[in-house]
């Protein structure tokens, strides 16, 4: 199928009940019923959408396989929408035969079955201050891009997207839409107007969108978890850096926007930074002064 010219995107900003996987799926179902009245092509949910984020050792009780999670998500959509076709992306804790990951799945759902298009395993596991991910989880090793009916996309989970290089590499590999499920505990009350961490996310991803001429869909978890408030504030930013739609910080909600995918090419024609980067990338990455192992990734493991 030729790539579509438009993408009707929606974000379900979840406020999960800690550890209540089935109950949270029911909450997602209610949102899906609302969406199905005017169905989007793509529905994005946050990181850890069905469990909450801070789980500590309970992650071993709540992690599921990618097949199980994609199946549950797809069945929920199918039931809520009366079997309409849609793509869904959401974060979950993955159990892969006893190795545990913070993952996100992109699944294509049709009336009778579903197909996992991509599973991204979080590469940057924050383990400092309030964060403890690498105490319980293993690190993903691959930044993949994947084909959809709406062009090539990439998934980055939360801190993955804080590093400018990940969005850069995804864009160089052809991603035109970047999906970022996130769970960001809010902090920073000294700045005016909103928490500093909310501003930081929007600034970071607006710059990525502008630099590479991509759409960015950021889905933030919301709700307090043991005093730590997830900042929600989901948004969609276009390839020129305009925030098309934006959610509040503290409430569950749905936001949606229709994305004109031709805008990507127009923005890149105006500001061809991505093409410039692709040309210069070998010189940058093959620089012998960079602290990179020579001889491939296996060399780094030795």
């Amino acid at each position: 199928m030729a790539d579509a010219l438009a993408l009707r995107a929606a974000i379900v900003q979840m406020k999960p009940e800690k550890g209540e996987y089935s109950s949270n799926l029911r909450s997602a179902r209610e949102a899906f019923v609302q969406l199905a009245a005017d169905p989007p092509n793509l529905v994005v949910l946050p990181e850890a959408a069905m469990t909450g984020y801070f789980l500590e050792g309970a992650v071993y009780e709540l992690a599921v396989t990618a097949q199980r999670f994609a199946g549950d998500l797809a069945a929920t959509w199918r039931e809520a929408s009366g079997g309409q076709t849609a793509d869904l992306a959401a974060g979950f804790f993955e159990n892969d035969a006893g190795t545990y990951y913070n993952s996100a799945v992109y699944v294509h759902v049709e009336s009778r079955d579903e197909r996992i298009v991509h599973v991204h395993r979080k590469m940057f596991l924050p383990t400092y201050g309030v964060f403890d991910e690498e105490r319980f989880l293993s690190r993903g090793r691959h930044l993949g891009v994947f084909e959809t009916d709406f062009g090539r996309m990439a998934l980055l989970l939360c801190e993955d997207a804080c590093h400018a290089i990940t969005a850069t590499l995804a864009a160089v590999k052809g991603a035109r839409v970047l999906i970022v499920p996130s769970a960001s505990p809010g902090r920073g009350i000294e700045a005016e107007g909103e928490l500093a961490s909310i501003t930081q996310w929007r600034d970071t991803l607006r710059l990525a969108a502008i630099e590479h001429g991509i759409y960015v869909i950021y889905a933030g978890l919301t709700g307090f978890e043991g005093g730590k408030g997830m900042t929600g504030s989901s948004f969609i930013v276009d390839p020129r850096g305009s925030v098309l739609v934006r959610a509040p910080a503290t409430d569950a909600c749905i936001i949606r926007a229709d994305l004109d995918l031709r805008e990507i090419d127009r923005a890149r024609a105006t500001l061809p930074l991505l093409g410039d980067l692709a040309a210069a990338l070998p010189d940058l990455l093959l620089d012998p002064e960079l602290p990179l192992p020579r001889g491939g990734r296996d060399a780094a493991d030795r």
């Binding site: 000294e190 005093g227 910080a249």
Partner: protein, 282 residues
């Protein structure tokens, strides 16, 4: 001549805050922690007549509705009478409910067995008696005790362990005292509570800043430096004097234990909170 532009000089001021953003966040916190997570609709607050419990009461009134906030005034016979009248200003301003329970008989009932107890011990007995009352009143009113300890006193260890810090939910524990004052003005806390010298009111004429040996404004600014990783030398280089920096450092470093649960001997690889790790809201 070209104009020269430089950053503004480093100020020795305590951290600020956006009171509107902070209020929105803390109201959401209280609603999520009480109503959503615990299915508890009511808050119970020990209302001392000071600015910390006043701010907490204003936040709870916004989050839960004033009819669902129960203030408990708990005077001891030697308490300053103005503490009661200042607490009444908060009750009138917010419309919250209020009861007064005199703790003198309970405190004296124990202390008559310990006539030699010094002021520190007597103060701790009063604080722990107030906590006993607060938890029991919470059971009576089907509410949750709400903590009123601020970040400055928590860092300086200026509180009674398992008393002031005992309530399961505290909205203001990550706010310095200086930030509490800013928030108090925004929320409409009556001016006398903001203007008066903070006091634990455990002894006549007592003030926090005399007890601590430093003003809250200076202590907060120094604490903010420490928490951002500045050494004592680097903090002094910013303009603070050695004595006050060392005083604050000493208080923080001698009270880490007060900010933790009791130390438990570990004997297995399933020790609670060492190996067996589950979040508080699981």
């Amino acid at each position: 001549m070209l104009p020269i532009v430089e950053p503004s000089a480093t100020l020795l001021e305590p951290p600020g805050l956006d009171p509107q953003v902070t209020t929105t966040w803390l109201v959401a916190f209280l609603r999520d922690e009480l109503i959503l997570r615990r299915k508890i609709l009511r808050a119970v607050i020990g209302l001392s007549g000071g600015v910390d419990s006043a701010v907490t009461a204003f936040l709870c009134a916004r989050a839960l509705g004033p009819e669902n906030v129960f203030a408990i005034r708990m005077p001891y016979r030697a308490s300053n009478p103005s503490s009661l009248t200042d607490a009444a200003l908060v009750v009138n301003a917010t419309g919250i409910r209020c009861v007064t329970i005199d703790i003198s008989a309970a405190v004296d009932g124990y202390l008559q067995c310990e006539p030699e107890a010094d002021a520190r011990r007597r103060g701790n007995v009063m604080a722990r008696t107030r906590m006993l009352v607060l938890f029991d009143q919470s059971a009576k009113f089907d509410g949750l005790p709400i903590g009123t300890g601020n970040k400055t006193e928590r860092l300086l260890g200026y509180f009674t362990w398992h008393a002031d810090d005992a309530p399961p939910v505290n909205p203001i524990g990550d706010l310095f005292k200086s930030q509490i004052w800013t928030l108090a003005r925004y929320l409409g806390v009556p001016e006398p509570l903001i203007e008066k010298a903070p006091s634990a009111d455990l002894e006549a004429g007592q003030t926090d800043e005399a007890d601590l040996g430093i003003s809250y404004a200076r202590a907060d600014a120094i604490l903010a430096c420490f928490l951002q990783g500045y050494s004592d030398v680097a903090t002094i280089e910013r303009g603070f004097n050695r004595e006050e920096v060392e005083l604050v450092r000493r208080r923080v470093e001698s009270t880490h234990w007060k900010r933790h649960l009791p130390t438990t001997a570990m004997l297995s690889n399933t020790a609670i909170n060492e190996f067996y790790l589950r979040p508080v809201d699981y």
